[in-house]
């Protein structure tokens, strides 16, 4: 089972955001997607998840074309995502944010659920239990009945990943999960994400935090100006002078890449604090 990009292209008017990207992703591995601002990382996620249409080329999972499907159909084919700017169901509780993911599987029995209370109670209890299990994994069980929008920023990031996980996805796409998190939260997140690695699951993590990427990811995809610049193991990426050039415009070493990422993280931190 693999996720395949074939000559993928995305254009906004004259602006080419993704330019002829072909690659594939194998289950069991965590892929880091890195690259400077505007490189096209989010665009890749948005096209895969069906938020944006594909201008040319194709995306397929297990040989099944995803491009052209409706967004909810893509989600139901096993693709789950988080957003660069958190998008939770703010006025629903933390628990409900996860429970609602059962909709595609359970909606066909909704009249039975409404009209036959014992069945309704059983379904509600089952949904609650599987949601609680995921919340416990992310240390959110104490917030189960809080409104999602009222959580602190770092918890909201965790909840968004938890919600994606509640879909029991085969492909998990995370767009800057560590953006705006402090050191402690980032470490916690890295540990959690490492636990999510599973033989059936493809994970793509778009991230500017190089510590996270280098410790967590098995493979790294480097994007630059919409092109796939380099693909390899963390060690190979660190050794590549192309990558350093792309990131900094100079031929410095990986420490400078780190410094640039830290800088950006500080900026995001300010944004996050303003948000909450």
């Amino acid at each position: 089972m693999t996720l395949v990009f074939n000559n993928l292209r995305k254009q906004y008017g004259a602006n080419v955001a993704i330019n002829d990207v072909s690659t594939d992703f194998a289950p069991g591995l965590i892929y880091g997607v890195i690259g400077p601002n505007g490189a096209g990382k989010s665009t890749l996620i948005n096209m895969t998840a069906g938020s944006y249409t594909v201008s040319a080329g194709s995306i397929s999972l297990d040989g099944r074309r995803l491009d052209g499907m409706k967004k909810h159909q893509i989600a139901n084919s096993g693709i789950a995502r988080t957003y660069q700017n958190i998008r939770l169901f703010d006025q629903m509780t933390v628990l409900e944010n996860l429970e609602v993911c059962a909709y595609p599987a359970e909606v066909r029995n909704v009249w039975r659920e409404v009209l036959w209370p014992p069945y309704g109670r059983a379904r509600a209890a089952a949904r609650r239990e599987s949601a609680m299990e995921i919340l416990r994994f992310f240390g959110l069980e104490g917030h189960a009945d809080a409104e999602a929008g009222s959580l602190p920023y770092g918890r909201q990031r965790m909840l968004e990943i938890a919600r994606a996980l509640a879909m029991n996805p085969r492909v998990l796409l995370l767009d800057e999960p560590a953006a705006g998190l402090n050191h402690h939260e980032t470490a916690e997140l890295t540990a959690k994400l490492a636990e999510l690695r599973s033989p059936e699951r493809i994970m793509l993590v778009v991230e500017h935090d190089m510590d996270l990427v280098m410790t967590l990811c098995d493979r790294i995809v480097v994007m630059h100006h919409g092109k796939l610049l380099f693909q390899g193991t963390p060690a190979e990426v660190q050794a590549s002078s192309d990558v350093q050039l792309a990131y900094l415009g100079t031929d410095n070493d990986i420490d400078d890449i780190r410094a640039a990422a830290q800088d950006r993280r500080a900026q995001l931190g300010i944004r996050a604090r303003r948000r909450s």
Binding site: N76, R81, Q91, T93, V100, E113, V114, L115, P117, M167
Partner: protein
Amino acid sequence: MSNTSTSPSVKPQASRLVAVLVLAAIVALAAATPFLPNYHIRVVNSLLIYILLGIGLNIVIGYTGLLDLGFVAFYAVGAYTYALLASPQLDLHLPFLLIVGIAAVLGMITGILLGIPVLKLRGDYLAIVTLGFGEIIRIVINNVDWLTGGPKGIARLDKASILGVEIARPVEIYWLLLVTVFLVGLFVWRLERSILGKAWAAIREDQDAARGIGINTTNAKLAAFATSATIGAIAGTIFAASQRFVSPESFTLQESVLIVLMIVIGGIGNILGIVAGAAILILLPEVLREFAEWRILFLGILMVVLIIVRPAGIVPRTFGPEKLIRGLFGK
């Protein structure tokens, strides 16, 4: 909400007291109504019809977050279904319950038909287009004289009867409405808490993210339009059976706006809020009847004050029937 469950002693008792008071007031009012003069029973009946309409429209506005200003169309569909199938107009005299069933199906179909073209619209655009639909249905009724009697309406509707029991006097209509409001309220409340209700809430919060978790928003929204319209049509049949007369005047834009106001003032997305909103907007004008021309001004001021003081409505979204029951049994 969450503070009630986390903060220890004080809150549960307070919410229990509120629960007992609210329930006592509702039960007392419901039990006293049959002993009131007919005029007052009619006022309570009109209150119950508006509660029914509010419960229906709230599915679309409160749960799903779609501002629908044409709800009165479905109310009219129900009322005219009864008027045509139980009057000398076509010389048809079908039994009441059968007509309720037919009206429910017709309401559902019109709900879906009017829902399909507006699926892609939200906010102001949706409000304006649905407003147009409401007006179109009223204008059509006004103009197909041969069927609907035009502006004159249809008179001499049959008295309703269920299993041989006649339901025509205000107090009989009252019991019918009370049972209907209870059953519909229970149904909708369970719907709200079902997986479909949660999907509606997700669409309200962020439609695109809702699609992202696999919700077919087209189907979920059509289900909301359909259930809402069905309830509107059922309310319409009872309304027609109680007035025994229908005319287009009863189905103006003003009615739609009144129902939206009930929901907004009472507390959007909450069945108890609708009861509160309807009580204020239907009963208060009656209480203030003596003040004649000052009445509208007074209501206007009250509304402005309420919207400033409680922008989310009188009853918070979280204080639903569940809270009442929990409060009562101290769970």
